[in-house]
Every structure is written in C-alpha cells, then in structure tokens.
C-alpha cells in the first residue's frame, strides 16, 4: 500500500517536472525561434537601414570610412563622337568607373572593372579580360541574378542600355537575347574588333546557386565617344 502511494507520488513529481520543462524551456525556445523566423523573413529588409543607422550611432570604436572599393566615377556630359586617350583614366580591378542602367528593366547599378566578389556584391562588373566602353572592343559584364541584374528578365530586343563614365556617356541597343550553357565559349568573342556589349546573369533568373545556364543579352553601340589615340 505504502509502495503504491510512493510510486504515485514519484509519478506526480515527474509529471510536474515535465510540465515545468514544457512551460519554462520548450515553449520559450519555440516562441523565440518562431519570432526570429518571422523577423528575418518579414522584418529584415525593412530593418536593415535602421540597424545600420543604429550601429553607426552606438558603436564603441571610432568609425572607419574605408570602403572595400575605390570610386573613380565622376559624371560627365560628354556624348560626343571622340575622346582622347589622354583624358581617360583606365580603371584597375575592383574600381567603380561608371554606372549602368536599363530603364525598361528597372536596372540601375554601379559599374566596376573586374567581376570578382567585390564588384558583384556592389553592382555590375566588367570582366578584366574584356574592355571598357569606347575602346572599340568587347565589353563583357555580369551581375547577380537575385540583385542588380534580376531585371534582365524584363528586357527585350530594341531596349537601350545606358553606361555613364567619367569620360563619356554611352548607349547600346539590345540586338539579341539568348540562354546558353555557362561553359559555351561561343557565347562571347573577346577578340572582336567591333564595340559590343554582352551582359549576362545566371538563368533561371530566380534560381540561386550553381545554375548551368546563363542569359546573355547582346547589344551594339549606338552612341558615345570613341577613345582615340590609344596606340601611341
């Protein structure tokens, strides 16, 4: 009789313990996790600006104004036919040297030389094995499909791509849009002697990670100053 009553007591104790664990550990953890999930999914895009302002106001250390890239772009109003090479500062890798925009596709991004992680994190990058606008050769530029070049899905033949640099402003007309494999070497010609712009991003546009295909947008130069006197 005594034994059974002590059993019942210990069972009651265990039940109380389980209830306590459920009430004070599991429920708070679950609620906390759910709240964080909601905050990240819904609130982060809205909060990021407030967080950066807050961190600037309340930081412990002296603020650092160094940036991960250098900007040599100062807007120019030159839409003429020619610009002398002596007036052009050729950008080195990871430097912002212009801006690129496609009005019809809501694309407006900084333009960098080089297509490594720094340029692609901050805008659109021109492959260093291609050339800058006005050089009369191929310009091969790229950007991430979930950020700066997501709008490529809206472009169509005939749309105008604008590039602004410190030495002149350029316009290119889209002549072809094609989806090709990433390792298709016929997708570009780096030895072309005619100025042409190739813009590409991962395809499908809303897929992240290692996609097999790229969407290539080909455009021909319409206007903008040709750099003359390069070969002295």
């Amino acid at each position: 009789m005594k034994k059974s009553s002590s059993n019942t007591r210990s069972q009651k104790k265990r039940k109380k313990l389980f209830k306590a664990v459920k009430r004070f550990v599991l429920t708070p953890v679950l609620v906390c996790a759910l709240m964080y999930a909601v905050i990240i999914a819904v609130g982060y895009p809205m909060m990021s600006d407030a967080v950066s302002i807050g961190s600037m106001l309340f930081q412990n250390n002296a603020p650092s104004f160094s940036r991960e890239y250098e900007n040599i772009f100062t807007p120019s109003d030159n839409t003429g036919d020619k610009v002398d090479a002596s007036e052009v500062v050729y950008p080195s890798i990871n430097k912002q040297f212009g801006k690129i925009s496609i009005e019809s596709a809501d694309i407006d991004a900084k333009l960098f030389f080089g297509d490594g992680s720094v340029p692609l994190r901050n805008g659109v990058g021109v492959y260093a094995g291609s050339f800058i606008p006005g050089y009369g050769r191929t310009i091969l530029a790229t950007g991430h499909n979930n950020t700066y070049l997501n709008g490529l899905k809206k472009v169509k033949k005939g749309d105008i791509i604008q590039i602004r640099t410190s030495y002149g402003n350029y316009e290119y007309k889209i002549v072809k849009i094609a989806v090709k494999k990433a390792d298709d070497k016929t997708a570009y010609d780096l030895s072309a002697k005619k100025e042409n712009l190739i813009l590409y991003t991962c395809y499908p546009f809303d897929e992240l990670g290692l996609t097999e295909y790229r969407c290539f947008v080909y455009a021909d130069k319409v206007s903008g100053p040709e750099i003359v006197g390069i070969y002295e």
Binding site: Q11, I72, Y90, F113, Y127, G129, A182, K185, A187, E232
Partner: protein, 191 residues
Amino acid sequence: MKKLLTLFLAAFFAVTFSTHAFAAGINSAEQSVLANMRTPANMNGTSVYVPDSYINQAEARFNTIDMTEAQASEINSNISAGRAFIEGTGKSSIKELSTEEKQTLLSYASAAAAVLDLVTPAGVNGDRVKIVTKDGTVVMDETENVIKVTGSADITPTVIAVSVIAFLLTVSAGVLIILKKRRICYEEIEQ
C-alpha cells in the same frame, strides 16, 4: 605666416597621399610586349596561342602604367625564352606538360611579371592564375571560366540563420513529442 604654413602642409599632403592615375594609352614598348604575347608557340607542329583573355588583361594593365623600353626588352626576352622552352619539350599542348615543366614555364612568367614589380603569390594553382602588386593589389585573378557564377549574392548569413532556426524547431518538436508520449504512458499506468 599661418597662410604660408597652411599652403606648405596642403602641398605636402597632396604629394604624399596622391595616387598615381595614368591616362589610358599603349606606348611602343607595351605594344611590342603585346605583339610578342600574340606570337604562337609551335609545339610539335601545333600552334599554341596565349588566350585572348590573358592578352586583354595585359593590355588593360598596360593602360594603367607607362612601361619603358628597357622593361619591355626584359619582359620580351622572358616571353621568348618561355616560348622556346615549351617548343623544346616535344609536347603538343600545355596540358601535356609535366608539373616540373609547368613550373619552369611559370618561372619565366614570374620573371616577366617581376620586371613590373608584380608577383604570382601562389604560383599557378590548378587552373587559377593570380598576379598581384607588391602591396597586394590584384592585377589579374583568372580562372579557366570566363563566365562566372552569378546565382547568389551574400545569402550566407540568411542561410545560417534559417538553418539554426530550423534546427531549434526540429529539436523542440522532437522533445515535445517524447514528453507527450511519456505523459500518455504515465496516464495509462495511473488508470
């Protein structure tokens, strides 16, 4: 006196902290190097060319410097020596070269780069070629793939956060199920 001091300091800082910005242009010395780079190597009857992307990157670099004739001469002798070396191996392509032969070829490339105070920090690592200035500024970072992976941008923190939350939810749900099961067992015993 104060104005004079201000002027002096302004001039001093302008000279000290200014960065060199060369106008675009390829002089005759640089043109001779580019022409030499475009000359194919005859490997066992097959013409082997330096890829266009490499030559274009050299041209981009030359647009930011002013090479002297003496520098060009030294670079050209290294390029020619490298070409003569691979032609003498008797192989038909760069891929057929042994690791030792590739290292020798790299030493010619490194010697050419060194003329312009450039270094190849990790050598040729697989298909990657990296050239930097002495202060670490990247001049060339080339992989075999001209077309890059552009399917994501800085999603790593989000992925980590979501993974942690998913893990917490799974563990909590597991513990909850175990507790519920035990509770049912106890209730059965009590009855």
